[in-house]
Structure formats: structure tokens, C-alpha cells
Subunit: 723 residues, 2 copies
Amino acid sequence: MDFSSFLTSLATSFVIFVVLMLLFTWLSRRPGNHEIYFPNRKLKGLDPYEGLRVTRNPISWIREALSSTEADVIRMSGVDTAVYFVFLTTVLGLFVLGGLVLLPVLLPVSATARFRIKVNETTSEGTFNDLDKLSMAHIEEESPRLWAFVAATYWVSFVAYCLLWKAYKHVANLRAAALMSPEVKSEQFAVVVRDIPPVPEGQTRKEQVDSYFKAIYPDTFYRSMVVTDNKKANKIYDELEGYRKKLARAEAIYAESKKTSPEGTRPTTKTGFLGLFGEKVYAIEYYDEKIKELIPKLENEQKVTLKDKQQSAAVIFFNNRVTAAAASQSLHDMMVEKWTVIDAPESRQLIWTNLPKYFYERQIRQYVIYFIVFLTIFFYMIPIGFISALTTLENLKKLLPFLKPVVDIPAIKTVLEAYLPQIALIIFMALLPNFLLFLSKAEGIPSESHAQRAASGKYFYFTVLNVFIGVTIGSTLFSTFKQIEKDPNSIVKLLAESLPGTATFFLTFVALKFFVGYGLELSRIVPLIIYHLKKKYLCKTEDEVKEAWAPGDLGYATRIPNDMLIFTVVLCYSVIAPLIIPFGVVYFGLGWLVLRNQVLKVYVPSYESYGRIWPHIYIRIIASLILYQVTMVGYFSIKKFVYSPVIIPLPILSVIFIYICQRKFYRFFKSTALEVASHELKETPNMEVVFRSFIPPCLSSEKADEDQFEDALSQVSRTGGVG
Amino acid sequence: MDFSSFLTSLATSFVIFVVLMLLFTWLSRRPGNHEIYFPNRKLKGLDPYEGLRVTRNPISWIREALSSTEADVIRMSGVDTAVYFVFLTTVLGLFVLGGLVLLPVLLPVSATARFRIKVNETTSEGTFNDLDKLSMAHIEEESPRLWAFVAATYWVSFVAYCLLWKAYKHVANLRAAALMSPEVKSEQFAVVVRDIPPVPEGQTRKEQVDSYFKAIYPDTFYRSMVVTDNKKANKIYDELEGYRKKLARAEAIYAESKKTSPEGTRPTTKTGFLGLFGEKVYAIEYYDEKIKELIPKLENEQKVTLKDKQQSAAVIFFNNRVTAAAASQSLHDMMVEKWTVIDAPESRQLIWTNLPKYFYERQIRQYVIYFIVFLTIFFYMIPIGFISALTTLENLKKLLPFLKPVVDIPAIKTVLEAYLPQIALIIFMALLPNFLLFLSKAEGIPSESHAQRAASGKYFYFTVLNVFIGVTIGSTLFSTFKQIEKDPNSIVKLLAESLPGTATFFLTFVALKFFVGYGLELSRIVPLIIYHLKKKYLCKTEDEVKEAWAPGDLGYATRIPNDMLIFTVVLCYSVIAPLIIPFGVVYFGLGWLVLRNQVLKVYVPSYESYGRIWPHIYIRIIASLILYQVTMVGYFSIKKFVYSPVIIPLPILSVIFIYICQRKFYRFFKSTALEVASHELKETPNMEVVFRSFIPPCLSSEKADEDQFEDALSQVSRTGGVG
């Protein structure tokens, strides 16, 4: 890629972003779109502009984002979101501090070097280009100028250590503040117990659980809720809810039709598959009948479920937070595989079906899934390598000669050259996240947030291994494949050798990501169009409209790995081609701004894990840092720099840094400190409310009838107890 | 060493053992020696023969040992001792089951092989000898007979897995039974808290600690005891106790002298150093005066200590076992390096001076000490290698020619050949254990039992690395040193190569150990002589006599590593030279018998850790097993056996086995399961007694005056509290 196509790519991206931003300003001012641009405020019962300045000029959202505080973020979107911003700030800080030193120092050092770059070290076209002049590739071998790059590597690493340390401390404080809040949060009073041994003769499961915990916590045990197999009840409940929605819709259609003709048109439906086949009936009566049929069926199934489908897991409620926190950290049975107690996640993020999975089953599932992920990562490596090698224009012309006339038009050629490989890459990556989330849930993980973290971790390793290393090495794969075969240790060297060649590829990749990606994110064009289409042609009832603009959450499982990929790319090139740093700064700066706007006004978090995502992010930042340091070791030795071993202490230092940080901070992210849990509450918790918040919707009765819960949901404390 | 010198060595050892056993029978029957042969029973207030048969024939102790049960051992000597017997039984079982298969199978396979052993594969003399005929060295290279040895390796490994699994389960049950016992054990109601942050303005340390725990455990917190710097108080206390003993002694001497002359001789002493210099005074008056002087000084120092020398650690008492168990497992402050809570060991084994050491100080000390131990292990390697190479007779004659006439006498030659290297080794090893215990305590470990375990672990690695590997390789060191230099990976191969050459050395080493070692152990000749000498010439008072026969404990810190060394040696040779197995069986069988007698009648445990020694023993057994398996891999490849990779799964299997066992069982050995702690007590604990049992002797007041404890020893629960 030559310099002009790079500028074209950059300019196009920027223009797209400006257009999208103006579109956003214009669209978000129209009251009809408020559901799309301010759903979070709307759901919290706030007016879109309440507390904000009314003049809506194109940059007012920037001013609002900048003036918002961390407390605002926590109030509107929770601790997890605040932690995500700590991540963005940390990375941004790293690149700003890195750039402030690296750009003024390294660019002149490179530019003034008098070294002709060899053909194979430059970009794929094999022509010398202006960007390469500013990179480390321009320094001759064994040059003492390399000392400047060594110093730069150290500077970046130490800035990273300082910022990460500060960030970890800050996040721990955020978590502590949230956990010690005087609000009553149901999950802080509960623990989940799994691996309950078989019910002893002459006892029910409920009695077994109650007597066990009653004996250990005679004063603080409140009640237990045995996990049941709700599959059938769930199915009936979903069916029932479906018919209720359809009924509401049919009634709305009927009411609508009355406006045109006085008696209206009674809507009809068919009884067969999807309402498309079978006998034609009047919809309202048909749904009404179905609902009347299903209600007793559900009630019956609820009773059967609660009585006969009790499983080997339970949620235990205590009447204070300290006991729950201590219980979740303590060994209960002398064997770890029985009566395993963990802290309860929020009820909305409990994965109920995973709770009764047994200890050894979970262990085995975990290893099997690690193996599948391993295979996935390494079998995708090959196709990605191919794609990256094929999608240079030269190769395309060779493989698909009929494209030649089109491709040779200069304008199209430039655009294609700029975007073709990147687009292939982006589409490719879109297929994976759901598969990984599915795998993570299959591990037997008990909470949604944990599953998301696990999926995010897998996705991170996938992106770094495949996109970064894969593309980098892939671009020189065919020429050097035999070299790897001969000496597998040469992979670090190979990685380092191919870095400068793909620098401009990643430069445009980052630019595309931030301008187009964040432009789309801010303008919400796609959700807006879908919403208006749905509203106009599909939605008949209020609930349906509400569903149509439901904003969703930030989607950490893919967002964080994608950010981490950009971070890894920019970090690894930061010293080799410092020109990439400003792109990193713009990516994370713009991301901070756009997402600040989005979390305050748009996204609604679907769970709260009190910052547990942080250690996970932290480990991956350090992993990237180590990759960067190892790459630099390789790159310096390619430059035949005799002092390149001076870099070797850095990865070792990083490992020690991980160890110290995890040792100091991690345990608090795994469990709640008792001192934190012992802070006073605003009010005495209403344990009944706490307990009820954990009842799954398909089992909750509409009549406030207590007796039906007797079977699986114990009530020891109130009736006097078992033991 | 030829066959006759081996037999001489064996026969001599056996004769020594028989003599010592007869001596034991004869000596233990004399009532004047009962303090030496039955001190444990005496201290427990039992008659030496109570409940035992009266006829004291030479083997009656064997019958008694065999008929004793595990419950007897636990009653007389605690859970730790019972766990040590589980270790002996497991190892014995392994060798018996191994020997039953290996001896009848492998010996004929070796003996009938028609292969001339090469000179460098036999013993140091370079002559063919009868023992080697029965070893694997006698099998020719690439022979299909090697399959029998592969099968034997697998058999030994699988027997080991089965027995270890059973043993781990059994020990866990022993621990559970002890921890759930209805007896009130003070340490189960206490936790130790370390790393208390600096005292806030306007609070005392005591108030800080009390308010912190009162807030977290409002109902179950009983009282706290702040750790103080007792160095000075201890010194005064020791001085006082010393004078008290001297006073009693002087009075006894005076009373004695009255028997000969009516007015007696008033004993005198000198006021200077050690009572040898300075002014001559009447002893009784002088000591009396000193004691009167010291008592108020001690009381004053106690007050100062309790008030002004409070440190950053405390012992916290709860009024039930479950809370204490849960507290010791829970994170209290959000940072792990503040308010670190661990379960309290028994008060007698608390290392008070280590408690106030701070988190990071402990961490750093630990790594520094690991490094020192590493250096110790590897710098001792060289001298041991030299000793083993020098102490062959040939070398001795060369180096010390004046010994030649003595050494050439056949009888002396045989004895020297049999014992010389072993004796050098044993003396060498005697120097180390105290040094390692000192190092372990310097790590900042809070309890004596933990320090003993740590020392024992260090000693194990030392013995295995230096004695076993060192001697084995050392014997061929000089000839092959250059080979290692060229290829450091050859060390496994080298180890395997030199194994058969040193087989007979270890055979005699084991024989010496068990016959002479256990003979001395059983007969207690040395303690007996010391006791009688002391009693006759030194002891004047009852207390002094009691001190003279105090039996001490089993001394796990050296006993277990020594047993482990024998175990490692026998295990590693079990397939190569199966003839060693009977020696292993005799060693552990005899050990079991002799020690059963000793723990029931002699030794008094100095602490009880409820079987925490087991995971430690277990890990080292598996480490030996892996060493054995790796050695076998090496040895098979030396035999040019093409199928030698079939052994490779074994070490991997061992690692998986460690992982599973530790995952399943270890946590219960680290902390008490709540279910176990929740078992009912025989009586409501008297918390005052529990609390007082933790007061160090130098601070305990003789007047039952409560007020003096107010400063460092809080009494929140009874006076109404702080918060």
C-alpha cells in the first residue's frame, strides 16, 4: 500500500465519521427518536434532557460526556461499566504518556538515519514508501541509535506498570464502595450451594438442606430454595406468555379496525404451524381459550416441579451480609466435591440449568471445552493465513482474472487496496463470539457475568493469536513456511521480522475501526431504522414498541476483546512504528467519548458483577505487554543489536508484576471482604423480598399463595425449623 | 564391594540388633529404668505395665505393638503420630505388594539371562559379583525380557496410586474425627490476626482490634489478646525461674547434708559469672534475695509490656468453633496484606516472635530463605561428591599411604569397605536439620508444627538431591564429568547409568540404618546412660530428675526425610535390583514395630497439628515416585529398549494424580470444614479457660488479678464492649 492509498483510507474514514456524527446530532434532536438515543434515561424515568443543557449543537454531547463523573456512570450504568472506563482511561493514558516521549524522540532518530531499507522489509508492493522512513525499519543494523528504542521499550513498560497498579487499586475501591453500600442487595444475603450429596433415607431434599445449614448457622440461616428442573414449567410459561402477547396484539388490531368501520374486523388466525396452516379461527377467542387452558396446566406443573423435580443444588439465604460472605469463602464439607458453596450472583444472571451439574462433571466439561477452544484457535489459523495472503490485489487478480478490468480503475483500486483485507477480517470475526459464549456456558459456569468473562477471554486469545500473529506472520507465510518447519523456535524471530511489513495494514485497520465503528456506534443508524420499521409495520401494542427499542447492554464479551486487539496491535508497534500511537490515542479517546455518551443515555446493563471483569482485563493487558516485550526482544536481535539482551528482564519483570498484583488484589475480586460486608445497612432487610427476588418467573405464582412453595422452598426460620 | 563383605556387613548389623534388643528386654524390666522406657505412660499417670501382659519375654513388646490399635496411638500420642503410622503402613504395603510380584517374576528373568555385564556397569571394584546377576544390569540390551521390567514399573506405580488414595482418605477421616471431637480445644475457638494496620489517632491498639472484630462478629466475638513484645519480660521470667530452680537445688543439698551431720553444711555460691567467680555467699539466702528482687521487677515489666509493647498481631477468641473456622478462611480486609486472619495453632506451638512480622517482610524472607536453601543444597553437592569418590579404599590408600598396613588386614578391610562411606555420609547429614529448622522459623512461620514441616521439606530435598542423586552420580563423577559439561541433558541418562553400580552401596546403607538405627532407638542406650549419670551426679530435686528423663517427641523434621530417603532409594532400585525390596520391607516393618512401642511408651508429642503433616508427606512420596519413573525412562533407554517410551505416560499420570488428590483433599488440611466444626460439644466451653490457655507464661500473673490484663488483653464481651 502506498502513501496515497493510506491517506485515502484515512480521509474516507474521517468523512464517514463526520457525516455519521452530524446525522446523530440531527436525528437525536427529533422527539420520535428519543427511544433510540435516550433509552437508558427513559427506562430510569428521566427526561431525555433533564439536567443537560438544552441547546443541541453538534458537539454538545461531547461536552456532556466530558463533564460526567464516574459517580454518574455508576449511577446510570453500574460498577462494571465504570470499570470498563477505567480500562479505557488506563490504555489511553498509556498511549498518551508513551506518545509524548516516543514521538518527539524516535521519529527524528528514524528519519535522519541513512539506511536503505531492504526490499523484503518494506510493504507488500516492494516499493519504498514514506511511512517506513519514520519506523524502526529505517535504522541500520547494529546502529547505536537502537539504544533510543531500547529506552522507549522500557519507558512504555514502566508507564504501563504504574498505570495498571493505580487502576487496580482504584477498581478495588470502586468494588468495595459498591459492596459496602447501605442499599439491600438480595444477592449479598445469599449463597449458592452445589454438589449436595444424595438425599438420605427418610428425608426430603429440602429437609436435608435445611438441617445441614441450620446446624452450621443456627442463628443466621433464614431459608433455603432448592433448585428445581424447570424445563417443562418454563416451556408452558413461555407458551402462556406468547399467547398473552398475541392476545394483546389481536385486541390492539381489533381496536384499530374499529376506528375505520364501527363494528371493526375481528382478527383471525390459523391453529396450525406458525398460524399459517390449519383451521381458521377468531384470534381473540382462540388465544383467550388457550390461556385459560394453560393457566391450570402451569399451576399444576409448578406444583410437580417444586415437589418432584428438586435437584442437587440450592440457594441459601442468611439474615446478614457477613455470614453470607463468610459462608461463600469457607469449606463446608471435608471433601471439596460435596456441599460446594459459592457466593450467589444476582438472580437475573443465574444460569439455573448449570447449578445442579456435579463437581467432576464441571471439571471434565471445562477441560473438554478448553480443548475445543484450542482446536478452534489453531484450525482457524490456517484459513485466516490464507485470506490474508489471498486478499492482496495482486493475488486477487491472479486468482480471479475476470476482476482485472474493474480492479485496474485507479479509484476503485485504491479503495479496494485500503479496505479489502480489513473487511474480510471483520466479517470473519463476527461469526465467533456466540459460539464461544455457548461453549463457556457449557462449562457449567453458574452466572451469566462469569460466562461472559470466560467467553471474552477465549475471544481475546483467539483475536490476538489469529488476527495479530496470524495476519502478521501470514503475510510472509508462504515464503517462509519452510523456515518454520526447519526450526520451530524461529517463530518469535519470524513475528518480529514481519512486523514492519504489516504496520500500515494495521494502521488502516485501526483507523477503519475507530472512525467507522464509533461513528456507527454513536449514530445508532441500524437500531434506528429497525425500530422505525418495526414500529410502523409490526408493533401493535405498547409492550411490542418497548421491545423494539430495548437498547441491550455494552456486550463485554466482544467489546473488550476487540479493544484488546487494537491495544495489542498499537502496543506492539508503538516502538517499531511510533506513528501508530496517535491512532491508538484517537481510538481510545474517541471510544471513551462515544461510549460515555452511550452508557449515560443508551445502554442498560443486563447484570452487575461489581467489577469482577477487572482482573480478567488486567491479565490480558499484561499478556499483551509480555507479547510486546518478547516481540521487541526478537526485533532487536534481528537488527543484530548486540545489547538486545537488555530487554530480557522486561518480560520477567512483567511476570513478577502479575504475581504481585494478583496476590495483593485478586482475592477481593473473588470474594467479598468481611469488613466490607459488615458496613451498616440503611434499613433492616425484608428477607421475604430478598427471598422472592430469587424465584424464577416460571415458578412465581400470581396468587400470593404461600403454601405452594413449601416443598422446594423451605421456610425454616419462620415456622420453627427442622433441627 | 564383593559378596562376602556385603554378607559381613549384613551379619554384623543383625548381630548388633539382636544384642541391642536383648539389652532392651533386660534393661526395661528393671524398675529403676522405667523412666526411660515408659515415660509417656508415666506422664499420663499410667503404671508401666497397666493393661499389658506382665511376662516380659524378649518378644512381648512385639506382641504389644502388634495388638495396639490406631485408637491407642491417637489416645497416647495424638493424630500426627497416627498419620506417621499411616505413612509407614502405606510404604510397607507398597513394598510388600511390590515384592510379592517383582521378586518371583524378575529374579528368574534376570538370573537366566545370558549376558556378560560390562565392566563399567558393575560395582566399583570392577569384578563381576553375585548380586549383580539378580539385577536388571544382567539383561542384555534390546532384549524382549525387558517387557517384564516395564510391567513391573507399571505395577509398582499403580499399587502406589491405590495405596496413596486410600491413605489420603483415611487420614482425612482421622483429621475430621479429631476436629469434630466433643472435647473443648482452645485453639478451635481462636484465630490469629496479623498485619494489623497502624493504630488510628485517638485509639489504643486494643480498642482498634476490638472494634474491628466487634463490628464484623457482633454476637460471636468474645475477646482479643494483642501480641506483645515479651523479650524483656521473658528474660526476667527465665532468670526468676532459674533462681527458683537453684534455690530448690540448694535446699535439697542442705537437707541432704543434714543427714550426715545434724546442723548440715550450708551450700555456698559465688555472685559472679556462672557462680564461679566473685564473692562467696550462702546460696539459699542469696537466691531467696534475688527472687524477692525479681518478682516486683517482673510484675512491673509485665505491666509495661502489656501497656506499651503491643504489636501488630493479635489472637481473637470466638464463643463457637464454626465462627472461628469460618473467620480463618475468610478475607477480612479488601487488601490481603491487612488484617490477615489465619487459624490459631495450639498456644504451646505459637511462635510469638513471628506473629508481628508484616506480610511483605514474610514474603521477602521466604524467597530469601528459599534461595539460601537452594545454595545449601547445591554447594553441599560438591563436597558430598568428593567424599563418596574419596572413601573407596583404593582412593584412601592412595591419598593416605600410611594407612596401607592397617587397611590391608583382611578383617579390617572388609569392615571398612562395608561401613566407611556410609559413616561419612551419616555424620555429614547430622549437621543439617537444626540449620534448616532455624531457616524455616526465620521465614516468619507462625507455628512450630508448620516450621517443622517446612524444615522437613527442605531436608527431604536435600537428602534426595545430595545423598541419592549425589552419591549415585558422584561414584561415576570423575570419569563422566566432561560428558555432563558437553550435554547437560544427559543427567537423567547418567543417573540411570550409575544406578546399578551403587545398588550394593545402598543395600548396605539401608541395612545399617535399620538394624543399628532401630536397635539403638529401641534400646535407648544413650538416653539411659545420660539419665543415670545425671541422676547420680547432678540431679538434686524431683524437678531435675524429671527433666533428666523427659523423653522428647518423635522429631518429624528429621525422621520423615530420613524415612523418605530410604523409601526413595528402595523405590528407585525396586525394579532395577528387586533384591532391595526385602530390605525395604524389613526397614519399614521393623520401624513400624519399634516406633509403635516407642510412641505408646516413650515419646510425648510436643504439639498436635491434626494430621497437617500428611499432604506434605504425600507430595514427597509422589515426588519420589516421579523420580523413580523418570529414572526408569532413562534406564530403559540405556538398555536400548525401543519401547521405552511406554514408560513416559507414568510420570504424566503421577502429575495428574497429584493434581486430583490435592484438589480433592488438600483444602480440608488447610482449614477446618464448617460441618466438622459444627458438631456439638460435650459441654459449654468455659471461655475464660480458653482465653487463659493462650497467655504466655512470662505474662501470666500468679495473683488471680484481672486488671493487669486490661491493656493488651481485651474483655469486651464481659464489660459491654467498645462499639
